[in-house]
Each structure stands twice: as C-alpha cells, then as structure tokens.
Symmetry: C2
C-alpha cells in the first residue's frame, strides 16, 4: 500500500483525488490546502488540513498547485522522508527543495466537472533516486497503463508540444466558431470534422494526413479565403499557417 | 426510390458510393469516370461507364470531382432533367451550367481507406428550385440525420472555418509531432490530449475552454517556450497565436 498526501485543492488535485481514491494499492491519507471550502470536497476518503506545518507522513507528497507556488509548498516538506513530487509540465525538477524529489506529470487537459479516464493518460515520471522512480512508477501504474520515464528537458519540450496541440488548436476552434457565428451558422456544424481530424492521428502521421489548399498550393482557393476574412489577426494567421504547410510539403509540388 | 448517378471515382465518390449503396430509398444507377481502373471498384452495385456523352437518366447527378473540373463535367449534363449537384465547399452554385442545379456538400474530411459514419456528418444542401431542394433533402436524409439548407455565401465561410479547424489544426499536430521527435519522444504521448481537446468542444465553447500561458498572460512560461523552439516558423507561429489568444481574453486579465 502506498500512502500519499495531495497538496492543493484545485482542478488537478480533484482529478488526482478521484483517480487515486479508486486505486486498490493507494491510500490518500491527507489532502492539504489553504482553501477551507474547497478542502471539504476531499473529506470523503481522506483527512483534510489547512496546516502546512503539520503534514502527515507519507510515501509520496503530490504537489498540485500553480507552478509559481511549487517551491514555497515544497519548503514545508523539506524534512520529510517520502518523495516530494510536483505535477507540472513546465517546471524543473529542482524547483522542489527536498532531497528526495521527483515529477509526476499527467499529460492531459483537465476540465472542471468533466471526468477523464485516467487509464489511458500518459503519466510522465522523473526522480533522481532509482528507488523513488520505482515508487513513482508503481503509483502511476495504479491509475494509468501509460507510464513514461521522461527527464526535465524532454518534459519541457513535451509541455511545449502540448501547447501547440491543445491551447493553439483550441484557439483555431474558436476562430471556426467565430466564422460560423458571423454567418448565423451553428458551430455544431464543425464538431464532427473537429473530432474526425483529431481521431485521424491514430491512423496516420499528421504530416501525411495534411490536406487543404495550402498543401496543394491552390493559390486561387487561398485568395478567395483571404477575401472572406475580416479580422486582421485571422488574415495574418491564415497566411502564416498556409505558408508553413506549403513549405513542409514543398518537395511534393 | 431516388435514382442517382455519381460522377467521379476519387475518395469522396467512393465514400458516397458506399453510403448510398446501403441506403434503402436510393439506387446508384451509374458511376461515370475517366479512370477505368478506379471505376471497377464501383461495379458491385452499379453500372459503370467512362463515356460522359452517354450518361444514364437519373433524379440526381452527384459531381464528386476536383473543384476546377466541376464546370467541365456539368457541361455533359446540360440537357438532363434531373438535378445536377456538386459536392464542393468552396465552389459557387453557378459553377454548374445546368438549369436544375444544386449543392450537396458533406462537411467532413474523408480519408482513403478509413470508413466514416455518414449518419452524423452535416450535409449542406442548396438548390434554386424548391422541389429540387426537397429532393436533395430526401437524398441527404437517406444517409445522414444532420441535414442543413445553407446558401453559397454561408457555405464558403463554412469551408473557410473548416480549413481552420481541420487543415490548420492538423498542421499544429504535425508541429507537436516534430517537437516530440526532436527529443526522441513518441508522438503517441500527445494523442490522448489531442482527442480530449477535440471532445471538449461538445461540452463547452472553445473560447470558454481556452487555457494555457497566453490566456493567463504568463510571460515567464511563454519566454521559456520560445527558447525551446528552433524553427523560425514555429517561433513566429507561437508568438502570433499567443498574441491572438491574449487579445481574445484581454478583458479578463
């Protein structure tokens, strides 16, 4: 049995709590956070506390707070024997000041109120000590089949890649929504296309799957598209993305 | 029973053929195309022909060829009584020279060899004559529950929106893949995130769902991301997209 303490009461903390509470070999012995109201949501399976100076002993301390608060929270755990891990994609391992430290980064977007199936979420683990890495692997395996040992440099690059396929992609969806609304059309019309485009990554590489006027260097279509755009930033974006796609497929033209 | 002729033997023609062959009230009486080898694939349920001067009479002629060949193909159908429709998102209705003309545009990306469930694909129909519109509606309903009457201007905007959420999004996936490969990481790591990001459009508006350093105006994170990028076009794209997201959410900061 692995005893863990979760530090933080936000969105990610809730998703972890819900997943670990169902895991057979894990006991969430305590949840620590400042927000008394949010803390109540963790009281069903765990002891809850807002006193960072009296944290229960555990095998793993999971820091699930905002990136810039990681170091501060880890300072309260400086004398603990257990492994202190943060859960951030963009933060270095050494943001944690404890000796026995690591990273436990779930590569997924977590939406408030929307349950996710942790089973297939990649969990990227890192630790300096071999035994600690094994403990983190066991902890990760208790909730996911998709566990990877990834170092800080790789993780930062992965987090950057995630910004492209998640944050930036979502922005393109919002442009699509805006264009629909301009014509009095429902955004629902685009949803099956959005899903199919995402599902396609499972069957072929995105570079191979690329279609559209830019890939064909179909100048006539691109010019008529540009005429339909009203916002300056949409025009710049259209040109830049088309240029990038064209460049990536130049050898085929 | 609606009798239809499909003109073209490409990817879209194949997907239509497969869907209409299963529909109860539709008979694909003929498939016409130049490519004799590809034509053979349509011989199971239909008469096939490469003679554009002897096209069988039908209720609807479905032109599923490249955009710039639509007018040429429609010229062979100038004297037909049935409705001549093209299936292109970007092409005007009047690219067809017949009197009884229309559009039958499925808003989806069709991949060679990957079956799609037509049942939920939006089919955007347009016709000048009321009776023709009704016929197209019945034809569309035979394969999809998602049928919309959309005029040429709306359709062009929709096609443009589709470029953003499909072509451009797919390009962002390919950037994600490239960044993974640079670090010796598998692109598989990003796939659950890609799918979850797409699925989220069903539960909330993309503008509302927007997350990431740009939305929070987290300058420190954005600067470290930019340092990790090597390609000039990725840097420009990162800056532009971050700027656009920031601008869209300025009032919250």
């Amino acid at each position: 049995m692995l005893n863990i303490v979760i530090l933080g009461t936000g969105n990610l903390a809730k998703h972890f709590y819900s997943a670990f509470s169902k895991a057979d070999n894990v006991d969430v012995v305590q949840v620590v956070g400042r927000n008394q109201k949010e803390l109540q949501r963790f009281s069903k399976h765990s002891n809850i506390s807002n006193d960072f100076d009296n944290i229960t002993d555990a095998d793993v301390y999971l820091i699930a707070v905002k990136d810039d608060a990681i170091t501060e929270v880890s300072n309260y755990l400086a004398n603990k024997k257990g492994i202190v891990v943060h859960t951030s994609g963009a933060t270095d391992l050494n943001a944690i000041k404890s000796k026995n430290r690591g990273v436990f980064y779930p590569l997924q977007t977590f939406t408030k109120g929307k349950t996710v199936d942790f089973g297939s979420i990649p969990i990227c683990i890192e630790a300096e000590e071999k035994n600690s890495l094994e403990t983190l692997r066991n902890l990760a395996k208790s909730i996911s089949k998709n566990v990877h040992h990834i170092d800080s440099e790789q993780r930062k690059k992965l987090h950057l890649a995630a910004v492209f396929v998640n944050n930036f992609t979502n922005y393109l969806y919002s442009v699509g929504e805006e264009l629909c609304l301009e014509e009095g059309l429902s955004f629902d019309l685009l949803k099956p296309l959005i899903l199919e485009t995402a599902e396609k990554v499972w069957t072929m590489s995105p570079k191979e799957a690329q279609t559209g006027p830019a890939r064909r260097n179909d100048i006539k279509s691109m010019e008529s598209h540009l005429k339909l755009l009203n916002k300056k930033e949409h025009i710049t974006l259209y040109k830049l993305l088309s240029q990038a796609i064209k460049q990536d497929h130049e050898e085929e033209l």
